[in-house]
Amino acid sequence: MDDFLLRALMGGLGVALVAGPFGSFIVWRRLAYFGDTLAHSAFLGITLGLLLEMHLTLGVLLVCQLLAVLLFFGQRQKQLGSDTLLGIFSHGSLSLGLVSLALMDNVRVDLFSYLFGDVLAMGTADLLWIWGGGALALSGLLYLWRPLLAICIHEDLARVEGIAVDRVNLAFLALVALTVAIMMKVAGLLLVTSLLIIPAATARRMAHTPEAMACYASLIGCLTVAGGLWGSWRWDTPAGPSIVVAATLLFLLSVMIPGRRRLI
């Protein structure tokens, strides 16, 4: 196997493993639009990375973290619905990022690779980001697991039972922002959310516990990454979209197979 293909596979599998559990929470808490908003701010992060001459993932990470904190506090006001707020931040940051990129002289960026991912150009530093950042994100999530589940079910009940709901929520959003940032290389800012939610949605039909759903989502993610990369190599199609197509096909397959077991 070619070296670049192996690196792409390693990066893709790392992302899929992290995306499973986070995607499950995003499906449970209906945060898909939130993930999109974080991802759309990536251009701003790329500009920041180019300006400060640091690894672009770090730039994206910084901007995503900042946005996560802003959204956390923004959602506490009641004047605007949270979907409206997310829409403003989402498209505002996307456009601001594009404009600021255009303003930078002597920088020519390949928009396509940022929009849809550039997994075949996976470098060693990217791999380190994915596996290092992914390990950090997963350990954080493991630490927050039970309080997060309790909050998912009922926030006030969790609060009365002594869970520091705000702190847990803020930490969770920061971890999602980290996850989104490291996924950017594989899926690009337009497709990141799909890699989070499609495997989790596919896993839903097989799982009887939250933990099982998270694990199945990771496994299904790995299958889609392998399948998508294979398809991309076989038919010479763009890798990121090919992975998402594979994820979608698996999802459709899982829907069409009649459930033998009762849906728990």
Binding site: V27, W28, R30, R146, L149, A150, C152, I153, H154, D156, L157, A158, R159, V160, E161, A201, R204, A207, H208, T209, P210, A212, M213, L263, I264
Partner: protein, 250 residues
């Protein structure tokens, strides 16, 4: 503030305004151990808000809230909608508030009559079953005070009476106090020690038989309702006469 140390809970002079609207005005409420107190009042009277303030979930603008130090509260929220996408069994739901010993789980489920639901997914529970499971979760905290926000919501009339009886039995067995919100005046009267009639401020308070006759109550709920309630409240001590089965109040 000076509070009678035997009280579980004492609220004095509570004020709350939201967006220029008065939600609570000079509300006071005391609860003794083992007492069942029911908050009733029309929609928007501030019943749920008062519970939330007591639980520390909502801030208030003025007033004093005293909870006996170390008071353990079991809370049953008004609504719990578990998404279809969330694979969660009743057993797992009960342990989300903290790890539970096997025997405790078993006995809490038995106490509310829900043993057979242990492995059922939460989103597949019926209204009445869900309320029982929620109650079990509150009981697992070994509460001194149960706070129940419309505990019979989404339950048919027959089930409602059963649930209220269950709540009374739990109080009798455990000696915990119960503070609950109710819409349906009819059934709750029989299973409460004290009624607090709330309409942003406390209109009247007292034993159910007394409150239903109070002019403030009649003004709020109308004389017809009050009349029915009075009959129902005495229901337990009525007897049937042999001649034609008419009911006579005693």
């Amino acid at each position: 503030m000076n509070v009678d140390p035997s009280l579980l809970l004492s609220v004095r002079g509570l004020y709350l305004r939201r967006r220029e609207r008065e939600i609570l005005r000079d509300v006071s409420l005391q609860m003794a151990p083992g007492e069942i107190v029911t908050l009733i009042g029309p929609n928007g009277a501030g019943k749920t808000t008062l519970l939330r303030v007591v639980l520390g979930l909502s801030p208030c603008d003025a007033g004093e809230i005293y909870l006996r130090p170390g008071l353990r509260i079991g809370y049953m929220p008004q609504r719990l909608a578990v998404d279809q996408t969330f694979p969660l069994s009743v057993e797992r739901f009960l342990t989300l508030g903290g790890r539970q010993a096997e025997a405790d789980l078993e006995s809490a489920l038995a106490e509310v009559g829900a043993q057979r639901l242990r492995t059922t997914p939460v989103h597949a529970l019926s209204g009445g079953e869900l309320q029982r499971v929620l109650l079990a979760r509150a009981l697992l905290r070994r509460p001194d005070l149960l706070v129940l926000d419309e505990p019979v919501q989404g339950v048919d009339v027959h089930g409602q009476a059963e649930l209220y009886e269950l709540i009374t039995r739990i109080r009798d067995r455990r000696g915990c106090a119960v503070l609950m919100v109710s819409h349906d005046l009819h059934l709750v009267m029989a299973s409460t020690d004290r009624v607090v009639c709330l309409n942003r401020h406390v209109c009247c308070t007292g034993a159910p038989e007394v409150v239903t006759l109070a002019p403030e109550f009649v003004e709020l709920f109308g004389p017809v309702v009050g009349h029915n309630l009075a009959i129902y409240a005495h229901n337990r001590s009525h007897r049937h006469r042999d001649d034609g089965g008419r009911t006579e109040l005693v």
